[in-house]
Amino acid sequence: MDADSPFRAYEVERRTRRQRWAYKWDLYVASPLRVVWSDWRTRVGVLIVVFYLLMGTVGVVLVPPPETNQGALHTQPFQTMAHPLGTDGLGQDMISLIVHATPPMLEMMLSGGVFATGVATVLGTLAGYRAGRIDSVLTTVMDMATAIPGLPLAIVVATILQPESPWVVGIVLTINVWAGLGRSIRSQVLTLRESDYVEASRTMRIRTPNIIARDIVPNIMPYITINFVNAGRIVIFSSVALYFLGVLPFTNTHWGVTMNRAYRNSGALYSLGASYTLLIPMIAIIVLSLGLVLLSQGADRIFNPRVRARRSKTISDSEDPGTGGAR
């Protein structure tokens, strides 16, 4: 194991900087993307997410913001070119409502994702790498926080704080997502810590922050990425629910609020005629959520070859535990 790293150093020396970048590009960007693209489900996921990103950036420029009496009240969808998806009970264009709700949604997802994975990574790595007392304290704290139900806690905090900024809402909604995630990052770091190459780095007296940055974090990065996406999905689910039920303070541009209005004011539940005001935001939510699920499952397939089909056809995949194990 000691011999590995000098060998690595020797290899790197021989490569030019440019080759090194090309190699990194291929390893971390190009080849994962190729794998992503090869599976149509993941491909659909990527396309959906890109679509929403465009909607939240370019879309808001192209589509006018929603206003009351933009059109006639309750225009049915597919009736007029002016309002292809119709208008709601206040005469707001449905497309405007959906499109202009995207940026705050993306902001919430981003802040929630960064908050949850950031805290989890710091605490999980610290606990896993440091072991001893720090570990047992952090682990206990994380276990406790995991047991507190996230959504009710978020509801309570949201009720009391009444946050308005999407960035704060994102954090409130992921208020204890970090706990469970941090716990599993800790287990992974613990395993990595015992692995040969980290051991090797330690015997070579490489400083701890460097080991963490060089050997540990790159290895848990895929897992963090997947959970970043999952945290984003939690934010969608919870934010829509809480805006829909009126727990979070009113804002005009949120799919949950659009649903709420359809539900409460337009009577979408009772009348078939108004149901589109409820269905359209629902579809927006389901499609984005589907995109994220497909994306994270695809990522999981790339990073987690164990789940990869047992009978897959390439020879490199056939490392069954029987033959791959010994020496």
Binding site: P152, I160, V307
Partner: protein, 335 residues
């Protein structure tokens, strides 16, 4: 033994933490419940002096103004742990009385949901793994992923819209019919199931796919294990291999998922109960939020957390019964 005490201690610590958290949120956060109450009284009695308002607030919130914040904390904690969650400002009844009455209904819906989610997930996942790569596997993987991406409450609202309001097949709210007397009768049980059906269905349909995919992955891993190959060559009957080998080993990791599911489902129950107007804990939590009834809100939160902690503790303690490797407990990495 040490492990058991450790687990119990941790559970109790979690509950203490939750209760403390609720104390902090009610008493200490600026713009929180007390300020809200103060504002309300001021609006209703414009001429009142602020001292008088403060006195009223303290009386209403059962705060003893002579106590320091620490003393207040201690008395809050001790009354909560004696089962006194305060009085609902909206209903005027003791909070624990309201919630104790509601709790069994929430547990009923949760238990049914968990049961069906895991039964369907495990069964389907196992079959998918056995038929890995087949059309069946492919179809149900896709179906699982699709249903998994629908928020449970969105499905709930859809059900309510289509099945209850439009087609009139299911009730639009409530947990049993007035016409059926409460009691241990078949009619009552059926009526309760009828009312719980849509909330349960909303949960099960949006979550079974997750379990199925997890079970599928686990089973595929087990199918590649040496011990499975050895069992086949030893000529063990297919049934024994399916249940004792693949089934048992693939289900074990789901136990962790089960523990997490208890928490997320309980959280979800809060929202579903509100949507289906199903008077369980979550429903009252929302009533409390609408009415700014903080004792009831925090009471519901504390009860939910306690229920989850108890469920996780139970799952944790019984895990050793199905996984011999966990009997020592120390080495297990779950949660």
């Amino acid at each position: 033994m040490h492990w058991l005490i450790n687990r119990l201690g941790r559970a109790i610590l979690t509950i203490v933490g939750t209760v403390s958290l609720s104390f902090v949120m009610i008493r200490l956060i600026p713009g929180g419940p007390l300020d809200y109450l103060r504002g309300q009284i001021r609006n209703q009695n414009p001429g009142m002096s602020s001292d008088a308002i403060d006195a009223l607030v303290e009386a209403q919130a059962a705060i003893n103004p002579d106590q320091s914040i620490v003393e207040q904390y201690v008395s809050y904690m001790s009354s909560v742990f004696q089962g006194d969650l305060g009085t609902s400002t909206w209903y005027g009844d003791p909070v624990n009385q309201i919630l104790i009455e509601a709790l069994p209904w929430t547990l009923f819906v949760m238990a049914l949901s968990l049961l069906f989610t895991f039964a369907i997930g495990i069964g389907l996942g196992a079959v998918m793994a056995y038929k890995e790569g087949s059309r069946f596997d492919y179809t149900f993987s896709s179906v699982s992923i699709f249903f998994n991406s629908i928020p449970y409450y969105v499905l709930g609202v859809l059900f309510l819209f289509v099945l209850s309001y439009q087609m009139d097949l299911f009730p639009t709210g409530g947990r049993s019919s007035d016409a059926v007397p409460v009691g241990f009768s078949v009619a009552f049980l059926l009526d309760a199931l009828y009312h719980a059906a849509l909330p349960v269905l909303s949960f099960v349909l949006t979550r079974f796919g997750f379990q199925a995919l997890a079970m599928r992955g686990n089973s595929i891993n087990v199918l590649g294990e040496n011990y499975l190959r050895a069992a086949k060559i030893r000529g063990l009957p297919g049934r024994r291999i399916a249940f004792q080998y693949v089934g048992r080993n693939a289900v074990l990791p789901l136990y962790t998922t089960l523990m997490i599911s208890i928490g997320t489902m309980f959280g979800g129950a809060v929202i579903l109960e509100e949507i289906f107007a199903y008077p369980g804990i979550g429903y009252y939590m929302f009533q409390a939020i609408d009415a700014r009834d903080y004792p009831l809100m925090m009471g519901a939160f504390i009860i939910i957390t306690t229920a989850i902690v108890a469920a996780i503790l139970f799952a944790d303690l019984t895990y050793g019964l199905i996984d011999p490797r966990a009997s020592g407990g120390e080495t297990r990495e779950t949660y």
